[in-house]
């Protein structure tokens, strides 16, 4: 293997390749050459070479970091070879020098670039600084953060102001210049303004307080001055203004006292800005932040600044309602990117849209001036209604603009606040007509709004009104009669442009399949087709999750009842599932394995060859991937329960056991191996497993030795040093039961422990069992609702247990239902066999509180220790 930096560079680059083949090859090369001495230093050389492409350097440095993590000080029993001592020294010396060299001296470079009017570089540097400083905005305040901030302020506060003033001067000497020249300058100011925000986030720094007037008059100037239409139309200026508004918001909230004197001027300027606000998209962010600033103003102690009747009327008619109105961009969004629209409008993630924020302002103003605002608003709604009535087809937006604030301002259940309108009459007069319209494609946005109204106010609307609407909606309580129609519609909805991976539709399919018996082959076929499509490029984890859920739901609801359907299912889905395994679509492995497990579960032996081949999976190194392991365990379990003897006779079981032995010794995989081993032990009849037990024990004992839990391995030492102290730490209801029953049987049934020489051990063991049993029961009810995971679902392979196909964890000791009772009766039986013997032992070795607990248990179960 060759570890010249050039070779490493090639591999690093390929390791970023979207194509799996070259990527895997490069990863393999890297990991095999990692064994060579000098690898880490060669990698570092590559990282430090400024001539090399940044992308490669980044890939290399990430690999370098992981390399050090695993090999700087590996565990003794880990297979990876350690980095040699001289190489470590070399890394130590170079790394520091390297880190000092890499980040260019920011302030100096900035000054140089600014002096040369090189605003391309200036903005690049400021951009870097912006992301660097953003941590002061989003982190919780603590001393370490403050020390960092202090350091940054010392170095950056003054240059920042200098930079802002210089750029601002440059702009004023260039006011008439074309947008192309002004754009980078405004952009530069915007970045400065962002940095301003970050540096001021924790508290008002001394420098900024000393220079507040300079800063504020600059900020005010950019809010108040208008530029040529071309410049105004270009978004950069508005982005700067938006950022300024955020700063004002910050100051108004946190530095109220110092900022008070400026507030009036700013309030006025921002208001004027809003009233002249164009409706172009570039204005959006500005409008949103500016209105937010006004909202904070209207709810703050200074609200009187905003209180005059004229002012209120002005705010409502010039700011709030124009911003509530749908614009062309919204219509476009509705047509083109419906997911975004749903997210914003229906699911309420519209906190930062113009419409929502305008409503927030309405709410804010209403806080102190409710009556006035209600009057103004109802008048406005009335006006719009009239306008709509004159020409419903053309003026549908008017209607939308009246529905929106009613929904947005809906007081939530139990609230004292009144409704903007009378809901019931508003519903019957305005909403119902919309929903009952025959042409479902007419004014779709208005329908979406009406539907939203319906869902928001469903509790307020009488049942009779709802029932009449049902045929118009696809959400009946009992959908069986409509089932075929529903399914066809849903699947054809998936064919729509931009809707192929619509997770809302897939979720709906999942729900239907989970509740209704769709005994048609169509469903299977269609799902398999969708699956084979997404396998090519898994990109929407939410969609995929619901897709697999749908498949398991289908197996669960249909196949279990009809063996014939399994064959149908196999023939349709096996090719795709096998493709997943063969092509190693890592994201889908956990899902595919679970489906196989489910299929093994529902199938009746003898199994076809396909299933037997599948068993080989369990012998692959795939156990290494932690996301797959739980699914593999399910699969193994399924096999063991179905065809234990076949597996035994073919010697496959032995293979499984031998392999686990190997993997147990590697720290990273040991937990998974315990998982696997316990599956084996649990699911096989005793006579099959006994011959292998010695084998397994020796592995576990040597592991204990490695972990320095016990020095020499002998079973009493294990009791003393490992079992007894750790017993009470066990958690989980089933695990606790298991442990207490095992320990009880040990002390009550083992002939060795009944010997007098071991009475201390016996007593201590008893003590531990009582501690374990005395702990409060913690039963965590498994939640019965659907696990709704989309937010946390990432893009890497993770294991998510199916809701529809999943199994509950089995209690391995069904015959003993009450471990406490079992314990007390066992002890009592034992003591009665040799009365008077155990009393003193208990007295001597069992903790006083545990003695009391034991006594309590005895009375509860009406037993006695004699």
């Amino acid at each position: 293997m060759d570890i010249r930096p050039e070779t490493l560079a090639t591999w690093s680059l390929r390791s970023l390749s979207p194509e799996p083949q070259p990527r895997r090859a490069a990863e393999a090369s890297l990991s095999s050459s990692a064994e060579l001495p000098g690898f880490s230093t060669a990698l570092l050389q590559l990282v430090a070479a400024p001539a090399v492409d940044d992308q490669i350097r980044l890939a290399a440095v990430v690999y370098f970091k992981n390399h050090l993590r695993f090999r700087w000080a590996p565990y003794a029993y880990d297979t990876a070879s350690a980095i040699s001592a001289p190489e470590k020294e070399l890394i130590k010396t170079h790394l520091v020098a390297f880190m000092l060299n890499v980040p260019p001296r920011l302030v100096d470079s900035l000054r140089r670039a600014a002096a040369a009017d090189d605003y391309h570089t200036v903005n690049g540097l400021l951009g870097a600084a912006t992301s660097l400083f953003s941590k002061f905005r989003i982190s919780f305040d603590n001393n370490a953060l403050r020390l960092d901030l202090k350091y940054c302020l010392d170095g950056f506060a003054a240059p920042l102001l200098e930079m802002f003033l210089n750029t601002s001067r440059l702009i004023s000497s260039n006011v008439t210049g074309p947008p192309e020249t002004l754009r980078p300058l405004f952009e530069s100011l915007r970045l400065c303004s962002e940095i301003f925000h970050s540096l001021n986030s924790i508290e008002l720094p001394e420098f900024f307080q000393d220079h507040m007037n300079e800063w504020m008059s600059e900020l005010l100037a950019f809010l108040g001055t208008s530029y040529s239409p071309a410049v105004e139309a270009e978004g950069t200026l508005d982005a700067l203004r938006a950022s300024i508004c955020e700063n004002l918001q910050l100051y108004m909230e946190k530095n109220e006292e110092d900022f008070k004197s400026c507030l009036g001027k700013f309030a006025l300027t921002v208001c004027q800005l809003l009233m002249t606000s164009g409706s172009s998209l570039s204005r959006d962010q500005l409008t949103v932040t500016a209105i937010k600033f006004r909202t904070t103003g209207s709810t703050s102690v200074h609200h009187t600044l905003f209180g005059s009747p004229n002012f209120l009327q002005g705010i409502c008619s010039s700011i709030i309602f124009p911003n509530i109105r749908l614009r062309e961009e919204d219509e476009e969004l509705f047509d083109v990117n419906y997911i975004e629209y749903i997210r914003r409008d229906v699911e309420g993630s519209d906190i930062d849209t113009r419409r929502r924020i305008a409503c927030e302002l309405l709410k804010g103003v209403a806080l102190n001036y409710r009556e006035q605002v209600t009057t103004i608003t109802s008048m406005q709604i009335h006006e719009m209604l009239k306008l709509y009535a004159t020409n419903p087809i053309k003026n549908w937006k008017e209607k939308d603009s009246e529905i929106y604030p009613v929904v947005a301002l809906a007081p939530k259940a139990g609230s004292s606040a009144g409704y903007l309108v009378d809901v019931e009459s508003f519903f019957t007069s305005i909403i119902v007509s919309e929903l009952q319209e025959q042409d479902i494609n007419a004014s779709p946005m208005l329908k979406a709004g009406a539907l939203k109204f319906f869902t928001v106010f469903r509790e307020k609307i009488p049942k009779s009104a709802v029932i009449t609407l049902l045929p118009h909606l696809a959400s009946a309580s009992d959908i069986n009669p409509f089932l075929p129609l529903v399914m066809t519609n849903l699947f054809s909805a998936l064919q729509l442009l931009e809707s192929q991976e619509n997770s809302y539709i897939m979720k709906c399919i999942m729900r239907v399949l989970g509740r209704c018996n769709v005994s048609s082959k169509v469903g299977i076929d269609r799902l398999a087709r969708v699956l084979s499509e997404v396998c090519k490029n898994p990109r929407n984890p939410t969609f995929n999750h619901y897709l697999f859920e749908s498949i398991t739901a289908l197996i669960g609801m249909s196949c279990e009842k009809d063996q014939f359907l399994i064959c149908v299912f196999e023939s349709h889905s096996f090719p795709v599932l096998q493709k997943i395994l063969v092509d190693d679509v890592a994201e889908f492995w956990p899902y595919a394995l679970q489906i196989f497990a489910q299929l093994v579960d529902v199938s009746k032996p003898p199994f076809s060859d396909t299933y037997l081949q599948l068993f080989q999976l369990l012998l692959l190194p795939s156990w290494k991937r932690s996301a797959d392991a739980p699914a593999l365990v399910q699969l193994l379990q399924a096999y063991l329960q179905k065809i234990p003897n076949e597996l035994m006779t073919e010697g496959r079981l032995l293979e499984v056991i031998l392999r686990s032995r190997r993997l147990l010794l590697v720290s990273r995989t040991e937990e998974l191996e315990f998982y696997e081993l316990s599956t084996v032990v649990e699911n096989l009849p005793c006579e099959i497993i006994v011959p292998h037990l010695t084998n397994i024990w020796s592995v576990i004992f040597s592991l204990l030795k490695v972990r320095h839990v016990v020095k020499s391995v002998n079973s009493f030492m294990i009791l003393q040093a490992f079992w007894i102290p750790n017993l009470k730490l066990i958690s989980g209801a089933i695990e606790r039961k298991l442990a207490s029953v095992a320990a009880t049987r040990l002390i009550c049934e083992s002939s060795v422990l009944s010997d007098d020489t071991f009475s201390e051990l016996w007593g201590r063991m008893l003590d531990s069992i009582i501690s374990l049993l005395a702990q409060p029961e913690q039963y965590f009810e498994q939640e019965n609702g659907e696990p709704d995971l989309p937010e946390t679902l990432g893009y890497s392979a993770t294991f998510t247990r199916f809701h529809y196909g999943g199994k509950k964890e089995a209690d391995r000791l069904k015959e003993i239902w009450d471990p406490k009772g079992f314990f007390v009766t066992s002890i009592s039986r034992l003591s009665s066999s040799s009365p008077g013997r155990y009393g003193p032992v208990i007295h001597k070795y069992v903790d006083a509180t545990n003695q009391a607990a034991l006594l309590h248990l005895c009375t509860t179960y009406n037993c006695a220790i004699v």
Partner: protein, 541 residues
């Protein structure tokens, strides 16, 4: 906030491991204030950090406070006069040197003193003139003096064995130069070793005091100069000076010390507390009626209690808490109340001993402290309100009995009013207090249980919007506090009423964190929404 000039404890800012499924309420913890100050020292603190010396400690009838010279014209004249005087001083010193030389010759050859007295006289007079110029106006002509090269001359005047009057005048000049801009303060660097030397026990008290003043100004400038002073051994002689029985001397020394102790590094504080007699001097001074002295000493206590655990233990053992509570109850002086409150807050925040062993509910001291805090909450002054709310929030983190005491006191209506109407920083402290009143103390990491009737009463008094407002705050700490309270409401309000209450406005407020960059707060908000307003919410109704 910005007035946190007082560097606080090397505080452990505990953050609990956070699970989305179980939102822990962390508010029931004592909170120390943070040691690193970013903001500017506010006015009342600024007066403290550096001070001009305009009146002599000793009898000097010539010094009269002249009218401030603020116009540009007068400023120019003043500057010119200053430069001239520095030049005069320079020649006086050269002349003095010459004379001394001549004198030496006279002594050797003629066995008689040729001159001496007159030259020294001249020098001292020039120095005094300079000192007057430097004390005259609000903005002393420091720049002109520095430009004229005054520092080496003053250093020369501080030489050992110089006449007392000369030392005094030179130290005074330096004091006022050090009261200027950072650069001006730093210019004192060459004089520092001599100034430190002159606060030793052999010096005249007045001189030691004046030098301490100059050093206090230097220490007030910043961490860098503080470290230099500490390295030059200023701590011990200043501590000894604070033990003086003379009120003004002890006061000046205490003030200089408090400047020297300012963190964030706790070393000076932990060294000071080890010096023998310091704690006795503190206790002794705190017993006095001299408000100004007590104020300065209380500032020393502020820094000690903030930065040193050992100091906290010693202060508590020596009944300093009782003395401070006494002052809090008796005094109406803003200048005094601020450090007293801050010290008490630090003591309560630093050590459970304070709430567990001293502020026992039912003891007189506890009642006294509570009424003192209520007095401060009612005060017009923002800082007092804020500090009082902070102290109260830490007491509210104590036992159930403490919570009940506060809950049933006159403080409640005040706190509720402040939560809804005060400025941001006060609101935040008040919110901590109210939040703490609603959770029972818990020892382990388990979710603390809720004191339902406190919570219900807060909600009945309309507190919820105040907390929702916090959730919307740009200040992320406040936002978290708001979220924690919402969690209490949803979990704790009887009959599931909490959900309805929060649904009103709280969900919207929480939604802003859905994609927030701060992971903890994002998980917290999303976890709450999922847990309480998941898919099935509202279906059962």
């Amino acid at each position: 906030m910005a007035d946190d000039d007082v560097p606080q404890p090397s505080s452990q800012y505990r953050r609990e491991a956070f699970k989305a499924s179980a939102v822990h309420n962390t508010s029931a913890q004592r909170r120390r204030q943070l040691a690193v100050a970013v903001g500017k020292e506010k006015r009342e603190a600024l007066i403290r950090a550096k001070r001009l010396c305009r009146e002599a400690f000793f009898e000097d009838n010539e010094v009269s406070l002249e009218r401030d010279m603020d116009t540009d014209e007068e400023k120019t004249i003043l500057d010119a006069q200053t430069s001239q005087t520095v030049d005069d001083l320079k020649s006086a010193l050269t002349y003095h040197f010459l004379l001394a030389f001549i004198n030496l010759i006279g002594l050797v050859y003629f066995n008689q003193n040729i001159s001496g007295k007159g030259a020294t006289q001249k020098k001292v007079e020039t120095l005094r003139e300079l000192r007057r110029l430097l004390s005259k106006s609000e903005v002393p002509p420091v720049k002109a003096a520095l430009q004229a090269g005054v520092i080496p001359l003053l250093v020369q005047c501080l030489a050992f064995g110089s006449p007392d009057e000369q030392l005094l005048e030179a130290a005074w000049c330096l004091t006022n130069i050090a009261a200027g801009d950072p650069e001006e303060t730093k210019s004192l660097m060459p004089a520092l070793p001599l100034l430190v030397a002159h606060i030793g026990e052999k010096s005249l008290v007045a001189i030691a005091e004046q030098c301490a003043w100059a050093l206090g100004n230097v220490a007030g400038e910043g961490e860098e100069l503080r470290n230099i002073l500490l390295a030059q051994g200023a701590l011990l002689p200043l501590a000894r000076l604070m033990m003086s029985d003379k009120g003004s001397t002890a006061r000046t020394a205490a003030w200089a010390l408090s400047n020297l102790l300012k963190g964030p590094h706790p070393k000076a504080a932990s060294e000071l507390i080890k010096i023998k007699g310091v704690i006795d001097a503190i206790v002794q001074h705190l017993r006095k009626e001299d408000d100004e002295l007590v104020t300065e000493v209380a500032w020393v206590v502020v820094y000690l209690s903030a930065l040193s655990e050992v100091a906290v233990g010693l202060l508590l053992k020596n009944d300093v808490a009782q003395l401070l509570v006494g002052k809090l109850a008796a005094s109406e002086s803003l200048q005094l109340l601020i450090p007293v409150l801050r010290s008490l807050g630090n003591l309560v925040a630093a050590d459970g001993y304070m709430t567990d062993k001293i502020l026992i509910v039912g003891y007189n001291i506890t009642e006294q402290l509570l009424s003192g805090l209520i007095k401060c909450l009612k005060n017009e002054h923002r800082v007092l309100k804020k500090e009082a709310a902070w102290v109260l929030s830490n007491i509210a983190a104590g036992s159930i009995k403490h919570k009940e005491l506060i809950y049933s006191s006159e403080a409640m209506p005040l706190l509720i009013h402040l939560l809804l109407n005060a400025t941001f920083d006060i609101r935040k402290e008040v919110a901590y207090t109210l939040g703490n009143l609603c959770v029972a103390p818990s020892k382990d990491l388990e979710q603390p249980s809720i004191i339902v009737h406190h919570l219900v009463s807060l909600i009945e008094h309309g507190c919820l919007p105040g907390f929702v407002h916090l959730v919307r705050s740009v200040d992320i700490q406040s936002a978290r506090l708001g979220l924690q309270f919402l969690e209490l409401v949803m979990r704790g309000m009887p009959n599931g009423e909490g959900l309805k209450l929060v649904e009103e406005d709280g969900i919207d407020a929480m939604e802003r964190f859905q994609f927030h960059e701060n992971e903890e707060i994002r998980n917290m908000a999303n976890g709450l929404i999922d847990k309480y307003f998941g898919e099935d919410y509202g279906l059962d109704e």
